[in-house]
Amino acid sequence: MGKLSTVLCGIGLDNPVIPASGTFGYGYEFAELYDINILGAFSCKGTTLEPRFGNPLPRIAETPAGMLNAIGLQNPGADRVLSEELPRLRQLYRKKILANIGGFSVEEYAECARRMEADELVGWLEINISCPNVHGGGMSFGTDPAQAAAVTRAVKAVTRKPVIMKLSPNVTDIVPIALACQEAGADGLSLINTLQGMRFDLRARRPLIANTFGGLSGPALLPLALRMVYQVTRAADIPVVGMGGVSSAEDVLEMLLAGACAVEVGAANLTDPLACKRIIDDLPGVLEKYGFSSVEEVREAAKHG
């Protein structure tokens, strides 16, 4: 095991850094700047069974220490992701991806998962039951324990690959949702997705985001995400991928201490396309600075903390 290596649901990672879905496209843009094989893994753009254009513009607004987005799961649909995007990605990426999957019904989640899991590039399925930007799907499955469990069971029934349920912070208590997913057979959890928010255009006197609300991401989210990862890892036994506002190696260390086994980096990729590379480069020095010899040692410390 290398100094930075970790394990996610039984699959080894060279390091805990994973670009988060929707902030890394299918990887090509970033591959212009660095070899994306240095990543621990990456979570590709959320895929739905059918193609989606997403929401009207503007979809983006700036916030203090972060941003709002309301993309609305734009993607070319599972079949074109499998026939066009993943073959292209395979030309420049040798590791496994988390296939991030969105949906509007239990059946749709399961069918999309069934198609995506067949691709050899897919190491894990990350099931997005927490998108705040689509109506009649997404987050509505992630805010109710029974529905979260129903999606988990349906996806588990169609795959032998690890299933990671991606949870929403837009709930009163995230722990019952996490436990419902675990009891329904989830192999892991990832959290948090974006926090629902809004901003106004003062000149136009109306919301800045055409869809009215958007999901807040960026450094503003880090303390909230750490708190939720901490709560969930103390209540659940399955591995947790921590995310929310991570933009430095120090932030990664905090996430690991909160109990995460790996860390997704989201909005930071959009403002600094080299963010993941910088974090991976900085991680050994930051571990050393705080007296750790390895990522594994931080995870051990977290268990006893």
């Binding site: 843009e29 916030t63 990729n269």
Partner: protein, 245 residues
């Protein structure tokens, strides 16, 4: 796409809200006029996308409009300070489509990228004519720079205080041309679409998350499918645009 640090050599107003920013640094990422850069500005999370006015090896010129607190922070930066830029973003204009006598249509804050385009068209032996629209004479900028390149310049202003009283499209009326290149507000594009006698290219702007194609924040539907304005644009062909009625 390149990422790097650039030193501010000049950052001065051309009019009350248009600022010229001259930067020193690596310009090897730029391939076409009409591309843009994405600038990290102090105290802001998102970068600010700004079109490239012109460039030569080691030097980059931007002309931007102060529209909010981000561009105001940029305006307040002094020569000698460093800026973190992503450069070479977007497709830019296609010079190969110009033909012998293209027209360049610029409105308001959309004029800057046409300067780099004009210089390159002239170098290729084309005879571009430049049609510029301003609100008033006090808002005029860069017109002399086009003339200095040797291009023929026609001007219109909303109040008639400079050139023809009217719009850029009024300047098109009696001209014959081989192609058009446009940069300006979308209402101007709708007028051009009605008036144009040839195909052309339009450059679009949008609120962007990343500026390099990752976030899908600036996607639009075209007759050629879904496109990201930042990555597949900002320049689009006249024949592929879905005009909203």
């Amino acid at each position: 796409m390149n990422e790097g640090l650039y030193v501010i050599r000049e950052n001065r107003p051309l009019t009350r809200d248009m600022i010229l920013l001259r930067l020193e640094g690596d310009t090897s990422g730029l391939t076409n006029p009409g591309q843009f850069v994405n600038i990290r500005v102090p105290e802001k999370f998102l970068r600010r996308p700004i079109s490239v006015c012109d460039w030569r090896e080691g030097e980059l010129t931007l002309v931007y409009r102060v529209v909010g607190s981000g561009t105001a922070a940029l305006r307040d930066m002094r020569p000698g300070a460093e800026l973190d830029l992503l450069t070479g973003l977007g497709n830019g204009y296609n010079l190969g489509k110009a033909g012998p006598a293209p027209i360049l249509l610029g409105g308001g804050s959309g004029i800057p990228p046409l300067l780099g385009l004009c210089r390159r068209l002239l170098a290729l032996g084309a005879k571009p004519r430049v049609l510029l629209g301003y609100r008033t004479a006090a808002d005029a900028y860069l017109a002399g720079d086009f003339e200095a390149l040797g291009a023929e310049v026609h001007i219109a202003s909303d109040d008639g205080s400079l050139g023809l009283r009217g719009r850029v499209t009024d300047l098109m009326e009696n001209l014959e041309y081989s192609f058009f290149y446009a940069c300006g507000p979308e209402p101007m594009y709708r007028s051009i679409a009605r008036a144009a006698k040839t195909p052309g290219q339009y450059s679009f702007e949008a609120r962007m998350g990343c500026g390099f194609g990752a976030c899908m924040g600036c996607s639009c539907e075209t007759l050629a499918g879904t496109k990201r304005i930042c990555r597949d644009g900002p320049v689009m062909e006249s024949g592929e645009i879905k005009w909203e009625s």
